[in-house]
């Protein structure tokens, strides 16, 4: 137990170091952007109205002061960490003066909801079918599924998404192709609202599941194909262990360990959002927020999203690291 606690402590220090390095990198990369939020706003105002050059210069100076855009980089860096530790990254520069974290927290549930369900679904179904396909290698249905998975997997995600829009929005218009829920439904904890969200999430979730399913399926099938040739599997079969028990408890369980790492990293990656899904299906979430922030030069908002992504991915890996010695006896804590 003491060894395990030492192991946890080491991993905790590693987690803190990864988060610090990751967020620092995000900070400096974000500040290398050639896009200035001040100039974006001045440009927009200038395009929309007939302001004199002197007035635009006055506006530029006012916004520069308001956004503290002329502070030296190292001062901005220190200010950022001072704000980060209290959980307030400051106002968004493209939604001034609304706090950046408020914008992130509004978009986050949609992304987490959609991606978590899609990832878990594609991971579970893909691994289950992949495991069975690797074990029952002569089953015709699973063979056919393998062919389909191999065929779909290389197709770029956006093509799959567009095909779904065309099929279910145009040729057979039975599913909504835009938005997070119907306009005639008021948000609230009601069955109508929940069903509307589910209804609107079918196509975006399906697009993610279809692509993700193939990846999990093929990975698991390859892993299981190797494991079934292991001696302990042969012995178990010769000993008369039921095939269902062999496949689920001897084979898939062992093959699932590396797949679990992939699942954790995928779940951690949720916090970066799904930019293409949101654009294609007009679905709310972090992806659009991040793109808008990058295009607007809003360093505060970009850092709010990227900091959350760094913390989420690092934490997911941390949790998996902690679970590994418990799940897989071959991994030792020393």
């Amino acid at each position: 137990m003491r060894d395990y606690l030492t192991f946890v402590l080491k991993r905790l220090v590693q987690l803190a170091a990864v988060v610090f390095a990751g967020i620092s990198a995000a900070f400096f990369i974000t500040h290398m952007s050639p896009i200035s939020p001040v100039e974006m706003i001045v440009g927009r105002v200038a395009a929309q109205a007939s302001f004199s050059p002197q007035a635009l210069q006055d506006l530029r100076e006012a916004l520069t002061e308001l956004f503290a855009a002329d502070l030296p980089l190292h001062i901005k860096y220190l200010n950022f960490w001072a704000r980060f530790v209290v959980g307030d990254l400051g106002p968004s520069l493209i939604a001034f003066p609304t706090p950046a974290m408020q914008l992130v927290m509004r978009a986050l549930p949609w992304t987490v909801g959609l991606l978590a369900v899609a990832i878990v679904m594609s991971w579970t179904i893909g691994n289950l079918l992949g495991g069975l396909a690797g074990y029952y290698q002569n089953n015709r249905f699973l063979k056919a599924f393998g062919v389909v998975a191999m065929g779909i997997q290389p197709i770029p995600y956006y093509i799959v998404a567009f095909l779904l829009v065309l099929i279910f929005g145009y040729f057979w218009p039975v599913l909504p192709i835009s938005g997070g829920f119907a306009m005639n439904v008021r948000p609230g904890f009601t069955m109508e609202y929940i069903l509307s969200i589910l209804h609107h999430s079918i196509l975006p979730a399906a697009s993610l599941v279809i692509v993700g399913l193939g990846i999990s399926f093929l990975g698991m099938r390859a892993l299981v194909s190797n494991i079934v040739t292991e001696d302990y599997v042969t012995y178990a079969e010769l000993a008369g262990v039921k095939s269902e028990r062999v496949v689920f408890f001897y084979v898939i369980r062992n093959a699932a360990v590396p797949q679990l790492t992939g699942l954790a990293m995928a779940l951690g990656g949720i916090f970066s959002g799904t930019i293409i899904t949101e654009q294609v299906f007009g679905y709310p979430g972090l992806g659009t927020l991040l793109v808008t922030a990058v295009n607007g030069g809003d360093t505060t908002l970009v850092l709010a999203v990227s900091s959350m992504a760094v913390v989420a991915v690092a934490s997911a890996i941390f949790v998996i690291d902690l679970l590994h010695p418990l799940l897989d006896p071959r991994v030792r804590v020393k």
């Binding site: 004199s52 218009p173 306009m183």
Partner: protein, 632 residues
């Protein structure tokens, strides 16, 4: 084996059950509002990232503007329509009449319309205007703050319906601060904002406006906003043009172009802000109720701005007008039209967008001058203008689009452009040789012996990218080595910093519905020109200066809006631009805005009802709602 088969069967059954609610219905209803009372409009903005925020005075608020908020709720003193307008392009909105200046343009008096009320029932008075100006001036976070501080010394309510602005310096165009082209400084409800100590931190939710609609509901994710007609719409400024038709107006953000097309075909969208040329052609083929600005090809609405090749005149390479003209004559406008807009461009040989009333005020009136215009190449004198290029483009697209392409030459000229500069490689060569350039084989060399080469920056995609790529290709074929560089920061960085040799972008934003050019032209005065490397304030991004240009601008400054003298100065500007060619004008910014007549009729179009710009994010599109009627 049985267990996993059972598992698979269960999964299949679950999937089937999940799809039943969707399959059991026809096209999914998107609204509970009666369709014959509801208009659904496309908002081209991405879903608002700060959807609860309606205080649109704050610079960069993130709350969405074209959500219906600035079309249906806010209001200000005047609107200048980019097209003909319902009763002329100038609308006196909250003002009862046009602006009135004193003799030296240091004071502007505004008579306000009486009998107007805020949507919460409070009467609109001069106190609201005074409060707006003083509040905007006092808080630099408001976008209009700097402009008002620069120009306004004081503002006072002479009486409940008269406002007097005293200006810091003579300014004959101060009214433009409160005259909507795309937007303007909106008037604030004093009785609402004065309750908040810091009005820049007030979200203004729900908004209280002077427009004919109020907020019904909105998507907390910022994708749609639903507005409902005020019961007392007669107490708003648009009432003078009739009752707005729709009881409800929904603005939807639909980022994906394919989805817009599909939603209109499915009856879930009545107005689309923009499509690609290809999507527009597809839409009118598939949906017989779908229309564009022009009844046939090219369908698109020419917005009052001008895609052009902007040459950096501070670059020595382009400092000689003969070189600029040679580059112009190397271009084939027909190919550029086909490459950029698939032929659906409205070409412009002059540096004024061919749209709105400019077609009559400038393009028609300058035709004879353009036809007679002579250019001395050093070896010969040529007449470079080809008045039939628009007709030629029409013939190029006719095999594909057939009856949709107009046959009347005048109609073609208004849709495809009156003409452009004919490609003349021989004259271009003479001009370059006259400027000291030499040719080796097909390659041109500058007077100092270097290869005539430069980089053309352009957008990542879309018509502007296609336009730039084709122009560069034509120059390269003519012996000038032009590399195309995609630049994602043309507007915020490259263009103002002068970090380019040449680029394609839109420029020359005009009122569209009025010949006055001050909207873009005043900033072209040489007093605002900066040194190379310094940030150039909009809009003289070609960094061009000329004594004659300064004279024209100075005369415009003391010439009344809407007078023959003002138009004459506009003609002088257009002629100077032709003679000097500091930028190469190409065409109007054609927006493939579409509308469907399935549920509503009476939309504006180029031929029968050119009363408004159908491009939905313009604030003056609000007048459209007073002209539409249910289709059945």
């Amino acid at each position: 084996m049985k267990k996993w088969k059972t598992l698979l069967a269960s999964a299949g059954l679950f999937a089937l059950m999940a799809s039943v609610p969707a399959v059991a219905q026809d096209v999914p209803p998107i609204t509970e509002f009666p369709r014959e009372q509801t208009m659904i409009v496309h908002n081209p903005e991405n879903p608002a990232i700060n959807p609860d925020w309606f205080n649109l005075w704050v610079a960069g608020h993130g709350g969405g503007t074209s959500t219906g908020l600035h079309q249906l709720v806010t209001d200000t003193l005047w609107y200048i329509d980019p097209n003909a307008g319902i009763d002329g392009s100038l609308y006196s909105s909250l003002a009862a009449e046009p602006w009135s200046y004193n003799d030296d343009f240091t004071e502007m008096t505004v008579k306000l319309r009486e009998g107007l009320y805020w949507s919460d029932g409070v009467e609109f008075t001069a106190a609201d205007v005074v409060y707006t100006v003083e509040t905007l001036k006092a808080h630099s976070a408001f976008g209009a703050s700097a402009n008002l501080n620069r120009h306004v010394a004081s503002v006072e309510a002479v009486d409940d319906h008269t406002v007097l602005f005293k200006l810091n310096a003579p300014n004959s165009r101060f009214h433009s601060a409160f005259a909507v082209r795309w937007n303007a400084a909106w008037i604030m409800p004093k009785h609402i904002f004065e309750q908040h100590e810091n009005p820049t931190e007030f979200d203004f939710n729900p908004p209280v406006g002077l427009g004919p609609y109020t907020l019904n509901s909105y998507d907390p994710n910022g994708a749609w906003y639903i507005w409902e007609k005020r019961e007392d719409w007669e107490r708003t400024s648009v009432a003078q043009y009739g009752e707005p038709g729709p009881q409800y107006i929904i603005y939807r953000s639909i980022p994906n172009i394919d989805n817009r097309l599909i939603e209109m075909v499915n009856g879930n969208l009545d107005m689309i802000h923009d499509l690609t040329p290809e999507a527009m052609f597809s839409l009118v083929q598939q949906d017989e109720t779908a229309r564009g600005w022009f009844p046939g090809f090219p369908f698109a609405h020419p917005d009052p701005t001008l895609p052009a090749i902007i040459l950096n005149n501070q670059n020595e390479l382009f400092s000689d007008r003969r070189v600029r003209w040679a580059l112009t004559l190397m271009l084939d406008a027909r190919q550029i039209s086909m490459a950029s807009y698939r032929g659906a461009a409205t070409l412009s040989p002059i540096a004024i967008p061919p749209t709105g009333t400019h077609l009559d005020d400038y393009h028609s009136q300058l035709q004879d001058w353009l036809i007679d215009f002579e250019l001395d190449t050093g070896s010969s004198v040529i007449k470079p203008y080809d008045p039939d290029i628009g007709l030629q483009v029409a013939e190029m697209v006719r095999p594909q689009f057939g009856d949709q392409v107009p046959t009347d030459p005048n109609e073609i000229r208004r849709a495809f452009g009156f003409g452009w500069w004919g490609q003349n490689l021989e004259a271009a060569a003479e001009l370059l040789e006259d400027a000291g350039f030499t040719r080796q084989g097909n390659d041109w060399y500058t007077p100092n012996g270097e290869r005539f080469a430069f980089t053309l920056k352009t957008f990542e995609s879309g018509v502007i990218n296609r336009f730039g790529t084709m122009a560069a290709q034509q120059w390269t074929q003519a012996g000038v080595q032009v590399d195309v560089e995609v630049d994602p920061v043309i507007f915020p960085t490259s263009m103002p910093l002068g970090d380019f040799d040449a680029l394609t972008a839109w420029t020359i934003e005009s009122w569209g519905g009025d010949p006055d050019l001050s909207f873009f032209l005043d900033s072209w005065h040489s007093e605002f020109l900066v040194e190379p490397g310094e940030r150039q304030s909009p809009r003289n991004f070609q960094r061009f200066e000329h004594p004659e240009l300064d004279r024209i601008i100075e005369e415009v400054r003391v010439t009344e809006f809407g007078t023959p003298e003002n138009l004459a100065l506009g003609h002088e500007f257009a002629r100077l631009m032709v003679e000097e060619m500091p930028l190469i004008p190409m065409m109007s910014y054609n927006v493939f805005a579409a509308y469907s007549e399935r549920y509503w009729t009476g939309f504006p179009d180029a031929v029968e009802r050119p009363y408004a710009n159908p491009v939905t994010n313009w604030a003056n599109s609000r007048y459209i709602f007073t002209q539409v009627e249910p289709a059945q």
